[in-house]
């Protein structure tokens, strides 16, 4: 009886028509999302700013800001150290040959973060096709930490899938031992370093960087710090839980790499 009342013909028809209409929007999903994000972006930007200010105020004010600056400086120094270690090794190997460039320079665009996706590990940035941002471009922080890559580019905005998204995989190396592996996103801003051969030694605190094996990111970008090594006798590979260098809560802007100037 109740089922009959609840699912009256009128309701079923209206519900089905609306659902069909929503499904048909998938044909123009990019335009629909672009429009929705453009309309909401002023409000989103204000809310992001308000949230940032309030959390900073309650989280220790100037002390916290100072801490964030120091963390960012630390990331930058770690990136420089890793690049220098690499250069030192290359110098040893290529003695007598021409001197190679110390670090890669990128052609980048700075963009503001205006929101985080509701159900996935992705962010919305203010800047899209109008700033030359295309699908697939890597996104990094000022401290040279990998953030993610652009998955959708709208006229004035773009959606960036974070490296912590479940679908995300990228080739990585351990800065100290040069062991290689694959960093997989776990969702909820968590990362795992996987497929590291058993013979490669590494421990908590080691820094994980992007490697030159992948084509998604330039080499030597910071990914995360090893938090816990997960060893298993049966598994031919080692795993580790990583603490990402990119912190969404304390970031207001990121950089999209438009091209590499090697």
């Amino acid at each position: 009886m109740s089922m009959r009342n609840l699912l009256s013909r009128k309701k079923v028809v209206v519900g089905a028509v609306v659902l069909l209409f929503l499904l048909s929007l998938n044909l123009v999903s990019s335009q629909v999302r672009g429009l929705a994000i453009s309309l909401s972006s002023p409000l989103q930007a204000s809310l992001w700013q308000a949230g940032n200010n309030i959390s900073t105020f309650f989280g220790g004010g100037s002390l916290r800001r100072q801490n964030e600056t120091l963390v960012q400086e630390n990331s930058t120094l770690l990136a420089k150290l890793a690049a220098l270690q690499d250069v030192e090794r290359e110098n040893k190997e290529l003695r007598g040959m021409l001197q190679l460039g110390l670090a890669e320079e990128f052609d980048m665009v700075m963009v503001e973060i205006i929101g985080k996706s509701l159900t996935q590990d992705s962010i919305v940035i203010r800047g899209g096709q109008n700033k030359g941002i295309q699908k697939g471009m890597p996104v990094i922080t000022a401290g040279k930490a990998a953030v993610g890559r652009v998955v959708e580019s709208f006229p004035t905005h773009a959606r960036v899938q974070l490296i912590s998204a479940k679908e995300s995989k990228l080739d990585a190396k351990i800065a100290e031992s040069q062991g290689t592996g694959v960093v997989r996103g776990q969702g909820g801003q968590e990362l795992v370093l996987d497929l590291v051969p058993q013979e490669d030694e590494f421990r908590a605190g080691d820094v994980v960087l992007t490697s030159n094996l992948g084509d998604m990111f330039p080499e030597n970008l910071l990914i995360g710090e090893v938090e816990e090594v997960l060893k298993s006798g049966e598994n031919p590979f080692q795993k580790a839980k990583l603490k990402p260098f990119f912190n969404l809560k304390s970031s207001e802007s990121v950089f999209v790499i438009i091209s590499l100037n090697v």
Binding site: L47, S55, L118
Partner: protein
């Protein structure tokens, strides 16, 4: 009609707050999904014959899809099914003195 418009506004505000405001206060990935919670509350507290939760499910689901990058239509369908299930369960199988507000 006023009620529906108010609920749509509330769902939109919750979606924006969730995306841009609460990110700074909750540990990553653990932000409560206010849109889903609102639809669940509507399903529980509305009269059996009311269609407000159905409209809320469709609009709230649309917002979740539009701001997340998934297939548009997935969340409306899921919320609609959950809402229908709750209403049938509360009407036929659970006898609780829940005040029906609208």
């Amino acid at each position: 009609m006023k009620l529906l418009f108010g609920i749509f506004l509330l769902l939109y505000a919750f979606a924006l707050l969730q995306m841009s405001f609460f990110v700074h206060f909750f540990p990553a990935g653990l932000i409560p999904n206010l849109v889903i919670l609102t639809v669940l509350c509507l399903s529980i507290f509305e009269r059996f014959s009311s269609s407000v939760s159905m409209a809320g499910s469709l609009f709230g689901g649309f917002l979740l899809d539009i701001f997340s990058g998934g297939i548009i239509g997935f969340w409306p369908l899921v919320l609609l099914l959950i809402s229908t299930f709750i209403k049938i369960a509360l009407e036929d199988y659970v006898r609780l003195p829940i005040p029906k507000k609208f």
